[in-house]
Symmetry: C2
Subunit: 381 residues, 2 copies
C-alpha cells in the first residue's frame, strides 16, 4: 500500500488527501520498466488478482488468466492490479478516516472513473513507470482502460477493454439505481453511518448484489445452471418461520435452486464489501461517458492516439452488449486508431470475462504477444 | 363482488372459504350467454380494465383496447375482468380476514395460476356462462389464458395469450426472488404482520417495483425515453441530506432522469398494492409450468382441444421473449390445435401489450372478429 500525503485533486473539485493506494504486483519489472501490464478490476473486484483473497480465502479473481505461462505471462510481464479509488480493500474510500476523524461514509466525495485512473497514474509515477506496456480490464475495468488512453494516451502502448462500454446506458443506470435504493431502504444503513451503530446494511446490500448478479448472467446460463429445479427449503423444513409460507417464498416446502444460489451470492458478498463503496463506485460508473466533453463525439478523445486496441465483447452479454463495444471500435476506427474487435461466442453473459473461456484466453494471449513483438520486447527469459 | 361461502379447494390442499371474487363487467351478456370475453390481468393489474381506478383515479389499464367500437368491442361482447385470487382489490387474498379473525398475511395459503383460474370459473358458473367466447390476457394474464384452456378446454372457444410463456424461466424466477427479498428486507414488513403495526413495507415494495419495472421496458425504450439526461436532484438542492452526496446518489447535485422516473414508479405503486399479495402472486407465477404434470411435454395438455389460439409476442420483450411464445405455438401445433402466432415488431419491451401499439389492436380485432364469425355470433347490434 502506498500513501501519498499530497493526495489527489478530484474532478468534483475536492482535494482528497492523504491518498492510499492498495495494490498487488506479479512478475518482475524489467530494468527498462517497459513490461508493466495494468489489470483494472470491476465494480466488486479488487487487487487480489492472482493470489488468495484475504477475506474469502478464494483464489485470485483472474488467477486463470495471470501467472507463469498463462495468457498474461508473469514470467515475462510485470502485472499490477490496484484497488480502485473509492474501494474497500485498502485504497482510500468511504471506509477511510476522513477530516472529522471518523470514516468518510456518505460524505466521501463523489468520484469518477477518471479519478480512479489518475490515482493509478500516481502509483505508476512512484514506480517510475512512464508507460504501460498494456492496460487490460473487463466491465468497469474496461471503462478504466478506455479512460487511461483518453487521459494519458502516451502512457499506454496497448489497450484491451473487455465486455465494457464507452458510457453507461439508461438501463445500466437504472439497475444501479435500484441497487442503491435497496441499500438506502435497509434501516441498518443508518443514512450511511452504520459503522457508528456497529451495524452493516447487509440485507440491502445483499438484495443489490442479487439483482446485479442476475444481470451478469445470460438467460441461457441461468437456464442451464438451474432451470426450474427445486430443492427442499431449509426454512420451510424448520417448521413455522417468520414470514410463514409466503415469507420463505416456498410452496410445498420447496424452493427453486436459482433462489438459494442468489441468496448465497448475496450473503457471501456482504462479508467482503462495503455498502458506501458500492454506492460510490456504482455512481462513478453511471457518470462514465467518454463523449461527454466532446458533444457526443466518441472519436474525439482518441484522435492521433498511437495506442493499439483490441476491443472484446461476449455474444450473450446483455449488460454490456456487443453493440456497445462495436460502437467503441468504430469510434476508434474513425479516430484512425489501430483497433481490432473480437466478439466471443459465449452463452454465459457478462460474467464470461471471469470464467474459463478458451477463446478469451487465446484472444488475450494473441493480442499481448503480438503487441510485445511490435514493441520489441524481448521474449520470456 | 361475489361471495361464495363454499369456497375453493386449493392445489396445496387447503380449503379456502369463504371466497370473495371481485370483478368488473362491460357490455351486455347476450341471451344465449355466448358473447363473454374474459380479460385476465397481469401481476400488478386488477379488474379496473375499462373504467377509472378507485385508488389512482387513472383510466382503466386497457381502456384503449376495450370499449364501444374498440378492438374488444363492448357493443358486441360482454367483457369480464376479475381481480385474481391472492390479489388486493377485493378478491380473497392475504389482506382478507383469515380464520384467526385477522388478515391472513403471510399465512395465506400458497396459490397457483390454476387456483386463480378455478376461482374465475366459479364466477362464470354463477353467471351461468358455460363457455367463454374468448379468454385474453398479457403476461401473467396470458398464463391464466393458457391455464384456462388446459384446465377447461371445452369452456374456451378462442384464446389469446399475449407476451407470456408456458412456464416461468430461471431468469424470471430470479427477478421475482430478488423483489421478494427486497420486501423481506424492509423492517416495516414485520414478518408480514405490518397491518398489526400500522406499517407498510413501502421501501421494500418500491425497490421490488423499480426492479420489475426495468424488466418491463426494453433497453431501446429506456434509451429513447431518458438516455443519459440529468436533472437537478431535489434532495441535493435541499442542501445537506441524510445520506449526503452518495445518499442522494447525485454528483454535482444532479440525478439521471431515469432515476427519478423509477423512484416515482416505486412510490406510486406502494399506494395501491399490498406487499403480501405481491409475494403470493409472484410465487404463483414462479410455479407456473404447463408441462410439469406431463414429463415436460407442453403439447400434452392441449391434445384434441378445439379452442382456436392466437399467440402474440413482442420483438423487444426480453422478460417473456418471443422464443417462449414460439415454443408455446409449436407445442399447440404438435397437439393439432388451430393456432396462429404473431410476433409484433416493437421496441417498447414487455410493457408493449399495455401501450398504444396499433399492430396489437389490429391483431386483437382481427382474431376476435374472425373467431366470432367462425362461432356464428351475430354482429354488433
Amino acid at each position: 500500500m502506498l500513501r501519498l500525503e499530497q493526495g489527489l485533486l478530484l474532478e468534483c473539485g475536492q482535494h482528497l488527501a492523504p491518498l492510499d493506494i492498495a495494490y498487488r504486483t506479479y512478475g518482475t519489472l524489467s530494468a527498462a520498466r517497459d513490461n508493466a501490464i495494468l489489470v483494472c478490476h470491476a465494480l466488486t473486484g479488487d487487487q487480489y488478482l492472482g493470489d488468495t483473497h484475504p477475506l474469502t480465502g478464494k483464489p485470485g479473481w483472474w488467477s486463470r488468466m495471470v501467472g507463469p505461462g498463462l495468457p498474461i505471462d508473469t514470467d515475462r510481464f510485470h502485472v499490477i492490479c490496484i484497488n480502485v479509488l473509492g474501494g474497500c480493500m485498502g485504497s482510500t474510500g468511504p471506509r477511510s478516516i476522513g477530516p472529522r476523524g471518523e470514516p468518510w461514509g456518505t460524505e466521501f466525495p463523489p468520484i469518477t472513473i477518471r479519478d480512479m485512473v489518475r490515482a493509478q497514474a500516481l502509483l505508476l509515477d512512484h514506480f517510475g513507470i512512464e508507460r504501460l506496456f498494456a492496460a487490460i480490464g473487463g466491465s468497469m475495468g474496461g471503462m478504466q482502460v478506455l479512460e487511461w488512453v483518453a487521459t494519458y494516451p502516451e502512457r499506454v502502448f496497448a489497450a484491451m477493454p473487455i465486455a465494457t462500454a464507452p458510457f453507461h446506458s439508461a438501463q445500466n443506470i437504472a439497475f444501479n439505481e435500484v441497487s442503491r435504493q435497496a441499500i438506502f431502504a435497509d434501516p441498518e444503513w443508518h443514512a450511511g453511518r452504520y459503522w457508528a451503530h456497529d451495524a452493516v446494511p447487509a440485507r440491502g446490500l445483499a438484495v443489490a448484489r442479487m439483482m446485479a448478479h442476475i444481470t451478469y448472467l445470460s438467460e441461457e446460463a441461468l437456464t442451464r445452471k438451474f432451470g426450474r429445479r427445486v430443492r427442499r427449503d431449509p426454512k420451510a423444513s424448520a417448521g413455522s418461520t417468520p414470514g410463514g409460507t409466503i415469507g420463505t417464498a416456498s410452496l410445498f416446502g420447496e424452493m427453486f435452486e436459482v433462489e438459494s444460489y442468489l441468496r448465497h451470492q448475496g450473503s457471501s458478498f456482504v462479508r467482503r464489501f462495503d455498502a458506501n463503496s458500492y454506492l460510490t463506485i456504482t455512481r462513478a460508473m453511471d457518470y462514465f461517458d467518454l463523449s461527454a466533453e466532446h458533444e457526443g463525439d466518441l472519436s474525439a478523445p482518441f484522435r492521433g492516439v498511437a495506442t493499439r486496441f483490441c476491443v472484446v465483447s461476449f455474444s450473450s452479454d446483455w449488460l454490456f452488449p456487443t453493440s456497445q463495444s462495436r460502437l467503441m471500435a468504430r469510434a476508434l476506427n474513425r479516430a484512425g486508431v489501430n483497433v481490432s474487435f473480437v466478439e466471443i461466442e459465449s452463452d454465459r453473459g457478462h460474467d464470461a470475462f471471469l470464467l474459463d473461456e478458451p477463446d478469451l484466453d487465446r484472444t488475450v494471449r494473441g493480442f499481448i504477444n503480438g503487441a510485445a513483438e511490435h514493441a520489441g520486447l524481448k521474449a520470456a527469459h
